[in-house]
Amino acid sequence: MATRPRPLSPHLQVYRPMYTMVLSVTHRATGIALALGVVLLAGWLLALASGPAAYNRARELCGSPVGILVLAGFVLAFWYHFCNGLRHLNWDAGNGFEKAAARRSGAVVVIATLALTAATLLATLHFGGRP
C-alpha cells in the first residue's frame, strides 16, 4: 500500500506546459475571474436599484484608477472566455479535434480576443470615456 499521497487529476504539475494546454488553463482562470465578475455585476445592479447615492459610490469605484484597470481586465477575460467558449462549443459539436486544427483555432481565439478587447476599449473612449 502506498502511504504517500499521490497527485490527483488534473495532473498540471507533471506536464511541460504546451500552447493548447495554456489556452485551456486560461479558459478556467478567466472563468473564475468572470464568476467573480457576476457577483460584482449583481452588486452594481443593486446599487442602481437603490438610488443615485449608492449608484454614484459604485460609479466612483469603477472610475478610480484601480477600478478602470479591473474593468479593462474583465473586458479581456470576457472576450477570451467568449471566443474560447465558442471553440469549446464547436468541439462539442464534434469538429476540430485534430492537433493542427486545435492549434489553429487556438491562434484564432488569441487574435480575436486581442482585437475585440482593443475594439471595446477604443469604443469606450469614443462613446463617453470614463465609467
Binding site: 473564475i32 468572470l34 464568476a35 442602481l48 436599484a49 462549443l89 469604443a123 463617453g128
Partner: protein
Amino acid sequence: MSLKTPLGRVLGLGAAGGGAHHWRAQRLSAIALVPLGAWLVASLVTLPDRAYGTVHGWLAQPLHGLLMALLVVAAAHHAWLGVTVIIEDYVHTTTSKVAALLVAQFLYVVVGAGALFAVLKVALGGWA
C-alpha cells in the same frame, strides 16, 4: 465490450451518478450567454455617459430590462456550474469539498436572485 453492469448501462449515469444534466446545462447557458454577453458589452460601451439617470433610463426600457434579467439568470447559473466543476477537480477532502460546493450554490442563488430583483425594481419602478 463494456465493463459496466447491465443496470448501469440502462441508467447511463456512470460512476458519479450524474453528469449529463450538468454538461447540458453548462452548454445551454453558454449558448444563451453568447448573444446576451455581446449585448451587455455593446450596451455599456455605447451609452452616451454612465450618469445615474442615463443608466437607470436605459435599464428601465422593457427590452433592455428583459435582456438584463435573462443575462443575470444565465450568468449566475453558468458561473455556479463552472465553479462547481473547479471545486470538484481541486478540493479533495470530502468535508471541504461539500462545504465549498454548498457555499458556491448559496452564493450564486443569492447573486442571481439579488441581481434579478434589482433589474425588476428598476424596470417596474414606475415613471417617477
